[in-house]
Structures are given as C-alpha cells and as structure tokens.
C-alpha cells in the first residue's frame, strides 16, 4: 500500500505531523525513562499487582462479551432500520464516549446502587451489586459499548444491503440473512470493535472508582491499583503503568490488523 500512495504531501504538513507524533510518543518515552528496571519484575509480580492485573483482564473480557451481546443488535437496528427519533437515540447511545467517566459512575450509582432505580429491586431479591466485581463489569461495559456500536454500524452502512437483498429474495429468513450474510461481511469490523471495547474497558477508571469502589481482588482493577500505589510507591505505579501501556499497544495493533476498514473499502471498489 505504501508504494502506491501519493507522495505530494507538503513539507509543512509533514513537519506538523512530526510534532503531533512527538506529542503522543514523548510522554511514553519520559515514563520509560522513570522505570526502575532493577526492581521491575518484583514490582509487577507483587500479590496486589497480580490481583489487579488478573481482575482487569477477567472483567474486561466479561464486559467485552457483554458489549458484543448487546452491541451487535444495537448496531444492526441503527444501521438497517429507520424509525422516529433514531438520530436522537444514536446520539444518546454514543454519549458515554464523550461523558466524563465520573459522570457515568454517578449515573450507574443512581441506577444500580442500593438506593438506585433498579438497585432497590435487586436488593429485594438479595442481590447487591455495590462493591462487587459485577459493578466493575457494568461500569466497563457502560463506557466501552459505544466503541463496538460505532465501528460496527459504520461497517454495516459501508457494505450496503445488496447481498442481504439477494439472500432474502432467494428465500432466506431474516435471521438466516443476519447469520450467513450480514455478520460474516462485517466480521473484521466486529473483531476490531470488540478489541477496542476491550481496550477501553481495560483502561476504565473514573466510573469504576465512583460506582464499584476499590478492594484488592474484588474491585481494584489495574488503573485503580496504579492510582493508589502512586501515593506511596511511585516506582510500582510507573512499572504497572508500563504493563498497561504494553497491553494497550498490543491491543491496538491487533485491532488495526483485524479491522482494516480501509482495506475492506478498497476490495469493494476493485470488484
């Protein structure tokens, strides 16, 4: 792809781009320089660190699964149907993208908390969500869901409805069309959307802190552990931050390879 690109980018654009890249990369370099390599392994393998990492991975996987379960139908409805108030609904669904996570946490508290809208009902059945791992998963799902809906809806619109229409005229029922035609077509976008949701869930901090609390092995995820360690042991905080950065880089790389919406578009044009 790089061989065929247009090479006439003005120099000043490249120069500004370099400044932009440095702006993103330099802080990471600055953090790398502060890592205490001698104690790195003991710092990231301490009991509290491993608990936090394990909890983060488990909850992020669970919330990614929830995002796929709820997000795929949402994206299909938004992309394939037209109804009154759809635009407003789409904006509302994407709201967690721009909402400060603390606000999300407060909203979740008033919904699922002990005195919340739904929480009171749960309490009656003896189910308490507050201070449980479930609360962490809910907080992560809340902030990560828009990523999946957004990338999948875009892909659904891009691939169009031609093949689905053909399938339907050949007698396939809507569920068959969805399962055999629509989903396979947008599979790369689904994977990249799921990976992005996972990454967002992994980095979730504000909503978790506000809604779920912070207890080792139960609700204290890696970002919360970093925030707490910073109080007494900055070395441990930096070491754990590096772990989170590495996981994030891997996730972004995977998402980039799996998604490649640009490649999808090119292939369609070539046909």
């Amino acid at each position: 792809m790089s061989g065929s690109t247009y090479g006439g980018v003005p120099r000043w654009v490249a120069a500004v781009a370099a400044v932009g890249a440095a702006f993103v990369v330099l802080p990471l370099v600055a953090m790398l320089l502060r890592v205490n390599w001698a104690d790195f392994v003991p710092l990231i393998t301490s009991e509290s660190s491993l608990d936090a990492l394990g909890l983060s991975l488990r909850t992020s996987l669970a919330s990614t699964a929830l995002c796929v379960m709820l997000g795929v139908p949402m994206a299909v409805v938004l992309a394939r149907t037209r109804f009154w108030g759809q635009k407003v609904l789409r904006s509302l669904v994407l709201l967690p993208l721009v909402l400060p996570p603390v606000v999300g946490g407060i909203a979740l508290l008033y919904t699922f908390g002990r005195r919340g809208l739904l929480g009171q009902g749960f309490e009656a059945f003896g189910v308490t969500i507050a201070f449980s791992t479930t609360a962490v998963v809910l907080a992560q799902t809340f902030v990560a869901l828009p990523f999946l809906v957004l990338s999948l809806e875009g892909a659904l619109r891009t691939v169009g409805t031609r093949y689905e229409a053909v399938g339907a005229t050949l007698g396939a029922r809507p569920t068959t069309v969805l399962r055999r035609i629509t989903l396979p077509l947008v599979l790369p976008a689904l994977v990249s959307g799921a990976v992005l949701s996972f990454a967002r869930a992994l980095g979730e901090f504000g909503a978790t802190l506000t809604f779920a609390g912070s207890l080792q092995g139960v609700t204290r995820t890696l970002p919360l552990e970093i925030y707490l360690q910073r109080e007494t042991d900055p070395d441990a905080a930096v070491a754990l931050s590096l772990v989170l950065v590495v996981v994030a880089v891997v996730v972004v790389a995977v998402a980039h390879r799996a998604g490649e919406p640009a490649g999808l578009r090119l292939r369609r044009r070539a046909r």
């Binding site: 508290l109 908390g113 002990r114 005195r115 507050a130 201070f131 802190l209 506000t210 779920a212 609390g213 912070s214 207890l215 080792q216 609700t219 204290r220 919360l224 925030y227 707490l228 360690q229 910073r230 109080e231 007494t232």
Partner: protein, 269 residues
C-alpha cells in the same frame, strides 16, 4: 485602543491603591503599625500562592478572604488537592509560596527534598476520625466495634493514604478488625459512598462530617484520640512572595485561623 485600555486600568489601579492608602492612613492605625517593626502589613502586595490539603478547602477559602480584606494589595491563589499530590507538584517545580499538609509525613517529604526549612513547619490544627453513617443510620451503628460485623458494609481509606493509615492505627488500638467492602484512595470517596447510601458506614474525619451537613450523621469514636492527624503549615523556601507567605502562615496559626478552623471541627494542635 489597547494602550488606552491599559492607561485606564493603570489609572484605576492607582486610584484604588491611593484610596486604600487613604483609608489605612488616618487615625490610630499609623502609630500602631510603626510600633511593630516586624509587621509589614502596608507593604504587602502581589500574589501569594497557597497549596493546601483538600480537607482545608472551606476553611482556607474563608481565611484567604480575610487575608485579602486585611491586605488589599494581595491576591491569594488557592490550590487544593491530596497532600501527596501537592508534594509531587511542589517538588516538580510548581510555584507555591505556602504549603499546608494534612499530615506530618508529607511535610517531611518536602523538608527532605530541601524545599521547606526543617524549622519552618508550624502545627496549626488536628483532626480525628469519626464514623459517618447515612441519615437514619440504617446499619444501626453505635460504636467502632459494631463495624467488625460483616453485615455492615463499611468503607475505609486504603492504608496507603493518611486517612487509611489513621484507620489502621485506630483498629489496632481498639482491637477491632473491620472487614471493609472497599478501600478508597481518598476520604472524599469514602464520604461519597456513605452519602449515596451504598455503604452503611465509613471512617472519615470529624471535619468531613461537619462539612457534609445533613447528608451524613457522625458517630463519635471513643478511641479517636489514638489516631490524631496533625496539620503542619510552612512557607516554601523559594517563595516568590516570602513576606506575604509569612503573613498568611501567621493568620492561619493566629487566633483568626484558630476560630475558623474550630468552627469547621478541627482541634487545636
């Protein structure tokens, strides 16, 4: 146009300054201030930047207003955050003239870093822990030992932060083990969990309960004297405005400061 604006502003400033001087000059004030050679009240001007622990927000905002009223030429810039955050900011070069810490440990960090003179800090207040419960006390909490019951959802600060360290000391002194449902990184988060009713109880400072008003009820802890937090204040060595910094420290440690702090629930050092 801009020059004209500047000129008008300068003139207005001059008027204000001369007006103030005119007010301060007459009557018995003059001999009084000249009789005390150390005090330079009339000469204070500029900006004094005060970095203070988050728990001092209400009291220091009030004291800053008193200070500005007493020294019309001075603007007090206040910055509130967790004490350890402020220590990091100051050692990384943030322009602070005065630092007020919620514990002695964080002040010691600045002394070790050479940013505050070892002899400079003055203790100006104390704070003790109390049990905060939601209005109506749904958990029926009466004393510290009640929090050992796992049926009562209690939120504490993590031992890494000052309020958590105090809670740990208190638990040891009282021989009580509290099975916390969450260990928060700040006392504000503990209070938030109690005011929202998520937790049945939380260990916070007496001053937090006073500040929260009707949102929570406070239950005194009989053993509270076992874990007393002492608040030191000191001018920062490289202060931009050392005279105003000293004057502000004097106000906080003086009788005016004591009154405001006592009203907020702080104890005398």
């Amino acid at each position: 146009m801009r020059r004209a604006t500047t000129a008008v502003l300068a003139a207005a400033t001059l008027l204000l300054l001369s007006g103030c001087a005119g007010q301060a000059a007459p009557a018995s004030d003059v001999p009084a201030s000249s009789a005390v050679p150390g005090s330079t009240e009339a000469a204070l001007e500029g900006t004094v930047t005060v970095f203070a622990a988050a728990s001092l927000k209400a009291t220091f905002t009030e004291l800053a207003q008193e200070f500005e009223a007493a020294h019309p030429g001075v603007t007090v810039e206040l910055s509130f955050a967790g004490s350890s955050d402020l220590v990091t900011q100051i050692t990384e070069g943030a322009p602070a003239d005065v630092f007020a810490s919620a514990d002695e440990k964080n002040m010691a960090k600045l002394i070790d870093a050479g940013v505050v003179d070892a002899a400079a800090p003055v203790d100006f207040a104390t704070n003790v822990l109390t049990i905060a419960v939601p209005p109506g006390n749904p958990g029926g909490v009466a004393r510290l030992a009640d929090l050992a019951d796992p049926g009562i959802a209690t939120v504490l600060c993590a031992p890494q932060v000052p309020c958590g360290a105090a809670a740990e000391t208190l638990e040891k002194a009282a021989g009580v083990t509290i099975p916390a449902v969450s260990e928060e990184s700040s006392v504000t988060d503990v209070l938030g969990k109690v005011t929202s009713g998520e937790a049945d109880a939380g260990l916070v400072y007496v001053t937090d309960v006073v500040a929260a008003g009707d949102a929570v009820e406070g239950i005194d802890i009989a053993e509270s004297a076992e874990a007393v937090n002492t608040y030191p204040i000191a001018p920062v060595a490289g202060a931009q405005n050392p005279a105003a910094a000293r004057a502000f420290v004097e106000l906080v440690t003086g009788s005016a400061g004591r009154d405001v702090l006592a009203a907020a629930g702080f104890g005398a050092p």
